[in-house]
């Protein structure tokens, strides 16, 4: 109880989850490009190949569709693959296996199988890698029945959600924001689980609910601190899971605060905020709303290379502050 809580980076927390799962269950193995001796493009798998060997930390050829299919096949036959895309953008090559096979197999086969597959997607902008290495495509996956989609924002949740994902009998997609990998935070040593499907109220408030994902959770919390000084009391919810959505927590919060702002990095149109907004607009919370539902999402453009433009293309703290003020004080 009194032990000082150990701090790990988000990447280290993910790595610890994989190591603990591999120790506990020999069916668990890792696949991906350059996850062995290189340690992964973002050093998430790090030295795991030295601990677990090349048979369980498999460097694949650059062949995303095929490798994803290999993971599906292994999962179908009782193994527990954890698959790393080097960048989430490359999942565009593997949508067939993810969406037509992994997501649908249990249903198509009338429940005769399950596909216990975990896929990890380093996502998001901010690294100057431009349009083909910076996307946030999580909303696509949240549109697909049969998948579960999580997006941890802290080292704690990264470890706990990854362990839950590995336990889960169904395909679970984990979206990891690249800018979070080096972020540190308390991470218990034991192999704890964070439940899939539960949002987390990170800050209680009375005037406005901000539902945010991934790095936007931190920006929302920073914005909330600024707004608090102005007398605006913001509740910040870390969505954590995009499919299934934690409807109860969201509806309850918005019914209380009477205002909603969704903040996410994916393209604004049809990003996850569209679903949250629509879900609230058709829910019992609708009648409690005292303001239009605000959304801040990625700009309607590919991610540009120039660093100032790149920043301008995704929500920043001042954008959140300004939008929150408008929702609480003004009319739109």
């Amino acid at each position: 109880m009194d032990r000082p809580v150990r701090e790990l980076s988000y990447a280290q927390a993910l790595q610890e989850a994989m190591a603990q799962a591999m120790e506990a269950d020999e069916r668990v193995f890792l696949m991906g490009e350059d996850i062995g001796v290189y340690g992964g493009a973002f050093q998430v798998t790090g030295d795991l190949v030295e601990r677990f060997g090349e048979a369980r930390v498999i460097d694949t050829p650059i062949a995303e569709l095929g490798a994803a299919g290999v993971a599906v096949g292994a999962a179908l036959c009782g193994q527990r693959p954890v698959f790393e895309f080097q960048f989430s953008d490359f999942a565009t090559l593997a949508m067939e296996q993810i969406v037509n096979q992994a997501a649908k197999m249990r249903y198509m086969l009338g429940g005769a199988v399950s596909v216990p597959l975990v896929m990890r997607f380093p996502a998001g902008s901010g690294t100057g890698a431009a349009a083909q290495h910076s996307q946030s495509l999580e909303a696509w996956f949240a549109h697909v029945p049969g998948l579960k989609v999580v997006q941890p924002s802290t080292p704690h949740d990264a470890k706990g959600l990854l362990l839950s994902a590995i336990d889960d009998p169904d395909p679970v997609m984990i979206f990891e924001h690249k800018l979070l990998y080096k972020m540190k935070g308390p991470v218990p040593e034991e192999a704890y689980r964070v439940p899939i499907g539960k949002a987390d109220i990170r800050r209680k408030g009375r005037d406005l609910t901000i539902v945010a994902t991934a790095i936007m959770v931190h920006r929302a919390l920073d914005a909330a601190a600024i707004l608090a000084e102005e007398g605006i009391d913001v509740e910040v919810i870390d969505l954590r899971c995009l499919r299934p959505l934690d409807r109860d927590t969201l509806v309850e919060s918005v019914s209380r605060t009477t205002r909603l702002l969704c903040v996410y990095e994916g393209v604004r149109t049809l990003g996850i905020g569209a679903e949250i907004s629509a879900m609230i607009a058709e829910s019992e919370a609708f009648d409690r709303l005292d303001a239009p539902i605000g959304r801040l999402g990625g700009a309607e453009c590919p991610l540009p290379y120039n660093p100032e433009m790149e920043k301008a293309a995704v929500p920043q703290i001042p954008d959140i502050v300004a939008m929150a003020r408008r929702l609480v004080r003004g009319t739109v």
Binding site: G69, V70, G73, C77, E96, Q101, L109, A112, D168
Partner: protein, 339 residues
Amino acid sequence: MTVQMQIDRRANRPAVYDRLSNEQLRESLRRMHLIRQFEEGAEQAYMRGLIHGTMHLSIGQEASAVGVCVALGAADKITSTHRGHGHCIGKGADPKRMFAEFFGKETGYCRGRGGSMHIADPSQGNLGANGIVGGGLPIAVGAALAIRQQKRDDVVVCFFGDGASNEGAFHEALNMAALWTLPVVFVCENNQYGMSTSTARSMSVPNVADRAVAYNIPARIVDGNDFAAVAEAAFEATDRGRGGLGPSLIECKTYRIRGHSRSDRNRYRSKDEIDAWSRRDPIVRLEAELVGLGILAEADLAAIRQQVETEIEEGIAFAQESPPPAIADLLRDVTSEQP
């Protein structure tokens, strides 16, 4: 023609028959009949409006399905295709439950959720048909990886078509299987067309087997309408796989007698071509061979056909009488948590 030569050469008993009991040979012939009559039954049911959707018949290709599966045990696995009824029956499926699936019934292999293109029976090692051309190729490699990781000596057979060999998935799957020396047998049923597109119009080499060298995978071309030729190649390839020597490719030259699917107008091929291949019917050939070798008598043939006919009739009746799934179960089995 290579094919013709092979037939002449086997005036005597094929060597592979030493690995098969007479009972197994009889059962193989029976399964080929079962496939044929299953598909004819399904076709009629479709034309009578009893089945909806589409289906892809493999009539004329029964030898490759059964000739390969005869080399497999219950623990071995297969992945199949949109044209998968033969593989399914080859791997031991019950036509009753297949018909029930076609009729969209709760007693079907997929409880009526999958239809013709998704029949599977994981309990028998059948990982399923697939609606996506090439979709099963990497899945088969993954199944083989699981076998390796589980330290078993099973093999995986991956059925695919000539058309599928043009998909990137083919390239990626074969490369990984060879790179990792996995126990997969890639069985191409080259029926000369991917839908309307002949291999000459879709492939830059004449044979699918010509592609295997790019992966350092040994490949054989066999007369796909010759049960024994297929079985021989299948035993050789599965032996290799079980022995830890890695993947193989078998290209079965064959032909689908029916159109691609229900909507095919057959504009891309000639009646002569279809007739010529009809004369090479794999069932007729196997019957003649087994009788010639004294393994079966004419009376046995009649008995088999009769038994199969009854089984098919019973299967259709079973399917018709079975209950449909409850609409209330629409969201069941989307994930493992039930709604």
